[in-house]
Amino acid sequence: MRVAVVRFPGSNCEPEACRAVERAGGSAHYVWYRDATLDGSDAVILPGGFSYGDYLRSGAIARFSPIMEAIRRHAAEGGPVLGICNGFQILCEAGLLPGALVRNAGLKYLSRPVDVRVVRTETPFTSAYHPDELIRIPIGHGDGRYVAPEPVLEELEANGQVVLRYAETPADVPANPNGSLRAIAGVCNPAGNVVGMMPHPERLADPALGSDAGHRVFVSLLETGIAAKR
């Protein structure tokens, strides 16, 4: 499986994303934000970072990059798309995912591990987890508070579009660190092929780091790709 990792001005963790894909058995390559195509890639990852300096709103300007049209087409055809952190913000701004991400309720930039529950495993990025599995992976964001109008939240719950939720945990890691509505840490589109999450699975995808809790996000993608080719 060939996975495109998009580089926007101000992206970060894109080498980690490539490495995580390769560790899971896929091949990864960068695409530039001004490219017009995904070059026949099977899946695309929008990495974290601070595209365009987060000017105006996080992701607000990146969503108009030329590559976004190609991503929109890829998503419409059912192709897997993962937005991590800033990538999640961009997908929301682009309307490919519902809701928006605003300033953390505590106003502080948060960089630490969090416990999240994998609520939905029927996505190309979570299928290798057990339903309701608890994983500890890092967050690093200032604008991570997920918000959406109440009817949209109801719809997300009814359709099973909540993918990750900040979990009640042992005392050392507070639940719902940023004040997200319904403790939402990740969502998907109605079809389930477009997924956005604030935590960074690519930052914890190698046992050399003491945990590879994020590894199966990429294993999920590779297994989905193999299943699709059968």
Binding site: L56, R57, A60, V102, G179
Partner: protein, 86 residues
């Protein structure tokens, strides 16, 4: 004709506004207990070429819907004045 347009963007009513709350607490600490319901947003000023004030306002409304504001989280108001910025 050129119009000077000011866009005022505020967090949508009912949405938690931690910046507004922090400023309100700071005002209270500075002994301004008469201040309440504080909200922090942003202001954008731009020149717009249009044949009428209505046309300028309509163009900027479209700009707000497409880029300047996020309808999920923000409300905006538009004020149009004749002439360029001094």
């Amino acid at each position: 004709m050129t119009w000077r347009v000011h866009v005022r963007i505020l967090p949508r009513a009912g949405l938690l506004d931690p910046q507004g709350q922090a400023v309100e607490h700071a005002l209270a600490a500075l002994r301004f207990p008469d201040a309440s319901n504080v909200h922090v947003g942003k202001a954008i000023a731009l020149d717009v070429a249009a044949s009428s004030a209505e046309e300028a306002a309509s163009r900027v409304r479209t700009m707000c819907e497409r880029l300047l504001a996020n309808p999920v989280t923000e409300e905006f108001e538009i004020a149009v004045q004749p002439g360029e910025a001094t």
